[in-house]
Structure formats: C-alpha cells, structure tokens
Amino acid sequence: MASFHRPKTTQEAIALLAMPGARLLAGGASLVAMMNAGLLTPEAIVSLKDIEALRGISVFADGSVRIGAMTRHRETAENRELHGCFDCLRMAAGGIANPVVRNMGTMGGSVSLADPGADYPAALVALGAMVELEGPTGRRRIPARKFFVDWYATAAQPQEMLTSVVLPSVGPGVGYYRKLTRVTGDFAIVSVALCLTDAGGVSIAIGGCGPGPIFSDEANALIAQRPGDTGSILKAGEILAKLADPVDDVRASADYRRLVIPRLLASAFSIVHENWKSAA
C-alpha cells in the first residue's frame, strides 16, 4: 500500500520524489488509469494539487507564454489569449478526449507521460516550446524537440519534475492542429501541428507516427521558400513520412500512417492558406 502526500511547494514535491517508488499525481487521467489496470503500483503518491505555483497560464509583455504543469486541458483550450500561432496548442488541448477528461488532465501530466499518440507533443514541437524541469540541483529548460526522446520516455531525470512549458513569442501568424482519429477525442492515428508566421517562418510537427513528434528543417524550408505551393507541401510531407517510424496498432497500420502524412499536411495547409499572409 502506498503512502500519500500533498506538498505545498515544488521543492517539497521534489524532495518527496526521492522516496522509492514515488510517482507524481497531476490530474490522474493517466496515472490512476494505469493503477486501476494494474500496470503501475506506486509506493508513494505525491499529489501536486496544492502547489499554487504550478497552476495557470501567464502571457508576458514580450508575447511569450508560460503554462503551468497543473493547468487543465480545459483551461488551455478555453484561453482566449492563446491566439495566432498559439491556436495550434489551444486546438490540440480542445481535441483531447472529452469535456470531463479535459477538466481533469493537465499539461504537465500529459507531456511527462509522452504518449506518442497524445496531442501536446507535436503542438509544442511546432511552436518551438521549451519544457521547464526542476530537480534537486535546480531548474533547467530544454527544447520540446529534445524532450521527447523515445516511446513514453523523456529527457527528465528520475528526480526532476516538469513545472511548466514556455512558448516563445513567434510574432503574428497562424497556428493549426488537426488529427485523424476513428472517433472524436481519440488518440491520433496521425496528427499535424502547424506554426506559420507572417514573417514567413514555417514549423511543422507530425504526431502519432513514431516515438516522438516528427519534424524536419528541410521540410520547413521547402514550404517557406514557396509558400502556398501545393507541390512543395506534398514534397515536405514525403520527407516527413520518410522520417516517421510508425507502428501497426489497433488504430491503423504503419503503412497507412505513412500514406496519410502528406495528405493530412496538404489538407491542413488548404485550411490555413487564406489566413497565412505569406501564402496569400
């Protein structure tokens, strides 16, 4: 039987994380589900519920945004200050599961689990987000691109916890997130996250098709050179499909996923096309 803890500060939580078999509890949507399924038996459960510093979304004067680890998907999905390119993350949050689960699940919980079919990883990579980690020796920030290292594995050390994600200011532009699913709210068969700035910057990430989000500077550059050109978009999609490392699972085969990547990308671009100044 596990012990239960409700620390008031991040530092206390990190100290408690040193206990053998300790697990952090955020919204419970993944951790408790795994406990119920007998996949995890934590020896100590450290609830982050009472840590004020982990909550909420802050928008700074320079246009950057900090989203605390305990921010619920509902809050991210409903935050009107997340617009322009940040729509990408807002849309990703709004497409997770269903209203009740969005009211439970958190940014930190979802990102830390690093489920390749989940929605935040691709959106965060497309936006060039930084993941903030805190451990016994202090705080550090690493790019989302380097955070998702393998299937359900992240760059966080055993005694580190995710405290927030930070979206750097990218200036005006459009953001978009779309996933292909069997039913609404399911994990993605393939997802595409776009961050397109009015200054001509292109950043694409593909989710659901490998251990972490797929991205390619070459693919981004191809579209940036000829914004709005369908051929370039499909070529970029082919590059991303080659980089993908999908698996066959209950939702779709790996071959199908590779086939879908360029098409979903083209479909996403056709929708944002009108709003993207560089292409218009």
């Binding site: 039987m1 596990a2 509890l25 419970g28 408790v32 406990m35 459960i45 609830s47 009740v100 709210g185």
Partner: protein
C-alpha cells in the same frame, strides 16, 4: 498505510479509513453506500462514474479519494437537492431516455455540469457535453432530447 479522511458528499460528512490508492468511486459506492455512480470501465472512458468535485465534472474512477478531502462532492443522489438537477431527472423520465439505465447517472452528471456553465446549450453543445458518456444501448437521441427539454425549462 491507511489514513483517516473526511469527505463532503451531497452535503453530508463521511469519515473513513482509506488507502492512498482508493478512488473516489470506491469511497462513494462502498463507504458512503451511494450506488448511483457506476463502476464501468475503471479507465475514464465510459463516463458512468462521473461526479462533480468543486462544481466541475470528473471521473470518480480516476480521482483518488485522498485528493478530494477539501472539496464539495456531488453524486447523482445529490441532484435532488437542486432545481436544475430535479429538472434533468424529470426530463429523462418524460423523454423515456433510460433503457438499461447503467449510463444514466453519468449522463445526468455531465448534463448537470453542462447546464451549470451553459444554461441554454445548442444541440451541438449538448452532444459535445455528453460526448464523454457512452450508452451501450445506443439510446443517445432520447438522452439528448431530455437534456434539451431540461434546458428549455431552464430558460422558461
């Protein structure tokens, strides 16, 4: 390791000796004896265990009881204590929304949460509001009708 905990459910105080792993659903059903909330998938998918914690809907099967000691918890049994709750219960009856009935407590709680945040939801908003609740009799249409009826009465 067990711990003493006090939970406020439907306005009544319950004291129990719980384990850290005990879910709110276990407490509600087995300690408080409130059997309205159902144990369906135990994975947060089916919605039959939906309850309100601090006014917001959650899955009781994915919520640890030890995390709720300072919250106001409302289960389906608590709906009779508020006007909108009673309206929903009556509307479900009037519309014949209940088939086997297993999903209905969760449907009612999701509907209650929806009408709390949005007293006059559109048809699409009702469908989205109930999208986390599965009915294996597939009787969705009459369930949606019932929520619409309750919402109409809300507006009247």
């Amino acid at each position: 390791m067990t711990m003493q905990c006090v939970l406020l459910i439907n306005g009544s105080t319950y004291r129990a000796e719980i384990a850290a792993e005990d879910t709110l659903l276990t407490l509600v059903r087995d300690v408080a004896g409130l059997k309205g909330s159902k144990l369906g998938c135990n994975q947060g998918v089916c919605g039959a265990c939906t309850v309100l914690v601090g006014g917001w809907p959650v899955r009781a099967c994915l919520t640890l009881a030890a995390d709720c000691t300072d919250a106001d918890i409302v289960t389906v049994e608590g709906l009779e204590r508020d006007t909108i709750g009673v309206r929903l219960q009556r509307a479900f009856g009037e519309c014949g929304a209940v088939q086997c009935g297993f999903c209905i407590p969760g449907m009612l709680m999701s509907a209650r949460a929806l009408l709390d945040k949005n007293p006059a939801p559109s048809l699409d908003q009702i469908r989205i509001g109930l999208s986390g609740n599965l009915c294996r009799c597939s009787g969705y249409r009459k369930i949606v009708d019932a929520v619409r009826l309750a919402a109409t009465e809300n507006a009247a």
